[in-house]
Symmetry: C2
Subunit: 357 residues, 2 copies
C-alpha cells in the first residue's frame, strides 16, 4: 500500500492542482460573462489557453514540500499551488509585453492572439501589435489578482494565510526587482558581470519559481521556522542552477526537447552568465555585432555559439550551475530538513543537473 | 465639541490616509533597497512622486462611509482607503501604457520619467518610449500587489477582511472588463452607442472609484447587508454621473480648474457619451476626420466643440449626468441609509452636479 501511495503521489497531486485551476477558471469565466459579456469571457479563455500544457513546475514545488512535511489537506495545498501557476502566468504575460514577444512555445501568446484578431479586422500591424500588448497588460493584471484570490481560497487558518500572503508579496516584489534590473541592463549598454546576471535571475525567476513555492508548501504544512529557512536556502541555490542551465539550453539545447529554438535568445540579445563571461574575453569584440541582431541567421548564430564555446563561456556556465546544484544538495544535509523531505528534494537536484548533460 | 469634531473630520481623515500611505511607502522603499538596490528604490520613489498631489478621491469615499456608519478604528479605515489609492495608481499607470501617454497632470508619469532617463542615456526615442512603458508595466504590478497588502494591514477580523478582499477582487475584475471594452471600441472602428459607453465607464472607473470604496467603508464599519447594497447602488449612479461630467469637462472645461487641456481627449479620439450621441447625427460626418487626429490644432478642436454643441451632444450628456445624479440622490432616501450617512453623501452629489455648471 505504501509503495502504491508513493508511486501515485505525483499523479494525484497533479490532478488536484489541475482541478483547483479548472475550478478557479470556471468561476472567473462565469464572473467575466456577468461583468463584461462575450469579450471578457474570450480574454479569460485566452489566458486559460496560454496556461494549457505548462509543466506546472511551481505547483509541484508547493505540493512536494507540503506532502513531504506531512501535510494532508491536499485540496488546500492545490489552491496555493494554483496561485503560483497564476503568478507565473501573470509574470510571463507581462514579460512578453516587455520583450515584445508575440509567440510562446510556438503558438501565439496573449499579445499574439489579440494582435492577430486586430490584424484580421484590418488594423495595420504596429497598431495591432499595440492592441495585443494592451490586452496582455490587462490579462497579466487579472492573473496577478487571481494569485491572491487563490491563496485566500486555500481556506487555511488566519496566521498561516497571512504568512502565505507575505511570501507571495515578496515573490512579486522580487520578480519586479529582477525584471527592472533586466530592463536596466539593456539600457545601460554595458554587458553586466556574471554576478549581476546571477543576482538578476535569482530575483526575476528563481525566487518565485523555487524559494517561494517551496516555503509556501512548508508554511501550509506547519513546518518549523528552521525548516522554512532551509527550504528557502535550498530553493535559492537550485533555482539559480536551474536558470543558468536554462540559459545554456536556450543556445545549445536540443530544440525538440526544450520546445524552444536555439536562435531566439541570441537574436534578442538575452544577457546570460555565458554572455557575461564571454564579453570579458578579447574574442567577443569580433562577434559582438551579431549578438542581439534581430536579423541574425543560422550562420551568424553558429559563429556566436563557436565563440561561446572556445572562450570557455559554455563550460564556465555549466560548471557554475553544478556548483550551485551542489550547494543545494549540501543544504539538504541540514538537520532542519526531515528525511522524507530530503528524499523528495534530491530527485529535483538530479533532474536539474541532468538537463545540463 | 461635537461641532468641532464634525468640522475637523475631513482633515483628520485625510491626515490618517496620508499617514498610512507614507508608512506603506517607507516600508516598500526599505524592502526595495534590500531586494534590488538603488534602481529598485528609484522605481518606488517614482511611483510615490506620481501619487503626490492626488485628490485622494477614493480614500475619501472609504472614510466617509466608514465614519458616517459609526466606525471608530480610523487607522484600520485609513489602510483600506490607502489600498484604493494604490489600486487607482496601478490602474492609471497601466492605462497610460495602453494609451501611450507619457504625461499626467502636466508632469512626466512613470513611463515618461523612465523614457526621459533612457533618452538622456542616448537611447533613441522609440526604444526609450518602450523602455518607459516596460518599467510602467512593472510599476503597475507593484501598485496592484500593494493594494492587496494594504487591505491585509487593516488588521480587521478574518470574516471582514475576506469580504474586503472580495470587493477589491471585484473592483479589479470590473476595471479590467471596462478597460478591455475600451480597447475593443478602438479596434471595432464603429462608434459605440451611448449605452455601451456608460456600461464601459461604469466598469472601468465608477466601480473602483465609488462603489467599491463606499462598500468597503461600510463593510469595515460592520453595516448591515441592506446598507452595503444601498451604498453600491448609490455609488453606481453617482459614479456614472461623475464620469459623464468628467468627459464633458475634458472638452469644454476650464483647464485652469481641471488641470487638463481641453484638446487632449479630442486628439486621442476618446469615446464619450457626447461623441456617441453626436456620431448619430448627420452633422458628425463632416467633422469625423478631425476626431482622433493626432495633429488636431485649436482651430480643429473649435470645430469639433461647435458640432458637439449644435448637435445637442453636450446638452444631452449634461442632462444624462443630472439624471444619474438624481437617481443617486433618490437612492439616499432608502431606509437602509442611516441619517448620518445620508448627510455625508448628499454633499458628494452636490459636488458632482456643481462640476457640470
Amino acid at each position: 500500500m505504501e509503495t502504491h501511495h508513493v508511486v501515485d503521489a505525483p499523479y494525484r497531486q497533479q490532478h488536484q492542482v489541475e482541478d483547483a485551476l479548472e475550478r478557479f477558471l470556471e468561476l472567473a469565466k462565469t464572473q467575466a460573462v456577468s461583468f463584461g459579456g462575450a469579450g471578457y469571457l474570450r480574454l479569460w479563455e485566452t489566458i486559460e489557453r496560454s496556461m494549457a500544457g505548462g509543466k506546472r513546475f511551481r505547483p509541484r514545488m508547493v505540493m512536494t514540500a507540503y506532502e513531504a512535511l506531512g501535510g494532508t489537506d491536499i485540496v488546500a495545498a492545490a489552491h496555493v499551488a494554483a496561485a503560483y501557476e497564476l503568478l507565473h502566468t501573470a509574470l510571463i504575460v507581462h514579460d512578453d509585453v516587455i520583450d515584445r514577444d508575440f509567440v510562446r512555445r510556438g503558438s501565439p501568446n496573449v499579445s499574439g492572439s489579440y494582435r492577430d484578431i486586430a490584424q484580421t479586422a484590418g488594423i495595420p500591424l504596429p497598431l495591432a501589435e499595440h492592441r495585443g500588448m494592451s490586452v496582455a497588460v490587462i490579462a497579466g493584471d487579472l492573473a496577478l489578482s487571481a494569485s491572491y484570490r487563490l491563496i485566500d481560497r486555500a481556506g487555511s487558518a488566519d496566521a498561516v494565510r497571512t504568512r502565505l500572503r507575505e511570501i507571495l508579496d515578496d515573490a512579486i516584489s522580487a520578480s519586479a526587482a529582477g525584471e527592472l534590473a533586466d530592463v536596466d541592463f539593456t539600457v545601460g549598454g554595458v554587458v553586466p558581470t556574471v554576478d549581476d546576471i546571477i543576482r538578476m535571475e535569482r530575483l526575476k525567476t528563481a525566487y518565485y519559481s523555487f524559494e517561494a513555492p517551496l516555503q509556501s508548501g512548508g508554511v501550509l504544512a506547519g513546518a518549523p521556522e528552521a525548516t522554512i529557512d532551509a527550504l528557502g536556502a535550498f530553493g535559492q541555490q537550485i533555482g539559480i542552477a536551474y536558470q543558468i542551465i536554462d540559459d545554456v539550453l536556450g543556445v545549445f539545447g536540443d530544440s525538440k526537447t526544450t520546445g524552444k529554438t536555439t536562435i531566439g535568445d541570441l537574436r534578442e540579445g538575452k544577457l546570460t552568465v555565458m554572455v557575461a563571461f564571454a564579453a570579458e574575453q578579447p574574442e567577443w569584440h569580433a562577434v559582438e555585432h551579431l549578438f542581439g541582431d534581430p536579423d541574425l541567421d543560422e550562420e551568424g548564430a553558429a559563429v556566436l555559439r563557436e565563440v561561446l564555446t572556445t572562450t570557455g563561456a559554455r563550460q564556465h556556465a555549466t560548471l557554475l550551475a553544478g556548483d550551485y546544484a551542489n550547494r543545494a544538495w549540501e543544504q539538504l544535509a541540514s538537520p532542519s530538513i526531515p528525511a522524507q523531505l530530503r528524499d523528495e528534494l534530491r530527485p529535483i537536484v538530479a533532474t536539474v543537473l541532468e538537463r545540463s548533460r
